[in-house]
Amino acid sequence: MTDPLVSLQNLTVQFDSRPVVDRVNLKIHRGDIITIIGPNGAGKTTLIKAVLGIQKVSAGQVSVKKNLVIGYVPQHLTLEATLPLSVKRFMLLSGRSLSECESALARTGVGHLLHASVHHLSGGEKQRLLLARALARKPDLLVLDEPAQGVDINGQASLYDLIRQLRDDLNCGVIMISHDLHLVMAATDKVICLNQHICCSGYPADISHDPAFIETFGRPVAESLAVYHHHHNHSHDLHGDVVDSESHNAPSGHAECDHAHH
């Protein structure tokens, strides 16, 4: 096995001597998709910030592979109304060339928005823009904080699928926080259930039977999560139009939203 991209050893973060993240051990390798789930206040965001290197660690260690490039997709892009910003300018601020930025936008299905103002984007478009921004950096590791927030249910499914594809294309590691339990269960390799400490972790199919998981989320949730495989005979492009999977002739740039779900 190759060296992990990031490895956490007994990571502990305390706020006012109250542990928010408690002795977490975790390794992220290339090709992994790890999803962190857990109730509010479980320390998910704090854990992610420690991985990103922007959170002071109280004890334990965060070791990061040398020259690791991280692509970060924050929860929101809340832009001050007084700051004018076009999609193009925002992408170019990554320091990458215009052609790299354009292909990243096309890859996440928002290539047509190059000249739009960031202020006028919808929630789903903003998330895809942030993803494109992370992508343009050609990351070894993608870190996403609730990437599907404010995205409708079909958009969520295609967003998670897109993340899987990006993992395959870039051969990068992915670690994300999510509340969309059903989709997480279908689209993730490994789930970590966090409640300050790691209360359980493993493959999605196994974890929903784990007593610790049932205790954290309650039996009804756990039972409803008999692994969800979604079968679609169609999907939607970003405008919400139905796109036929078999005879798909949609304009280029939308092709990745549309593929057979397993």
């Binding site: 990103l52 004018p84 601020l93």
Partner: protein
Amino acid sequence: MPIINAVLDDFFWRALIGGLGVALVAGPLGCFVVWRRMAYFGDTLAHSALLGIALSFLISVPLNVGVIITCVVLAMALVLLSRTRALATDTMLGILSHSALAIGLVTLSFMPDVRVDLTGLLFGDLLAMSREDLLWIYGGATVILLLLAVLWRGLIMSTIHEELARVEGVPVERLRLVLMLMFSLVIAVAMKIVGVLLITALLIIPAATARRLAHNPEIMVAMAVIFGCIAVTGGLSLSWYLDTPAGPSIVVTAFAAFLLVYSAAGRARA
């Protein structure tokens, strides 16, 4: 160069050249004030400049140096205090802003042998601009514009999204400090033009006017500079022909441009 000498011998031209120099840096810095919601912060720093003047007399250092040092110290104190979060930021700024102004006035009154033109300090004394002032303004402007050019990407990124910037390796905290230093510098040089009470206006009105017409941060900065220059030129002309006070005239002109642009843009949209 006799022509330059002749121009610089004329107090009106000195005022205009100095005013345009300040507009050159007030544009970009004013944009940051608007983007980062620092208007009240700018006010507080500007008010502390009066305290800086008083202290400069007390320990007899050049006025500009005293003002810059006082502003820097206060800016640092504000950054540290805002981290403790004992008081809401606007409450704290309200306390410090007016206290700094009051302490400055009281300290000056303790020095009866120091004759200062208080109105000039509060509202600007542009027409008394000396050649040395011009050197300060253009020296300061060069430093600020160079810093802005070099640090631009990081400054904009940390304004858009602080955490994203941090992950991408932008030294967010250090840039915040540099921005504070630039504010202190611009306040020290702009004080001469519009006075401590009106500096914030010169920073934010041209920037706010530019916002209505710009689609990207860089364009907004360029337009803020242009509106600043219009305000300085218009205000000085007003002062020259109608014998109005120069500093307030500049602010009035800036405000008129603001109203004009917003009503025209509003009509265009409707």
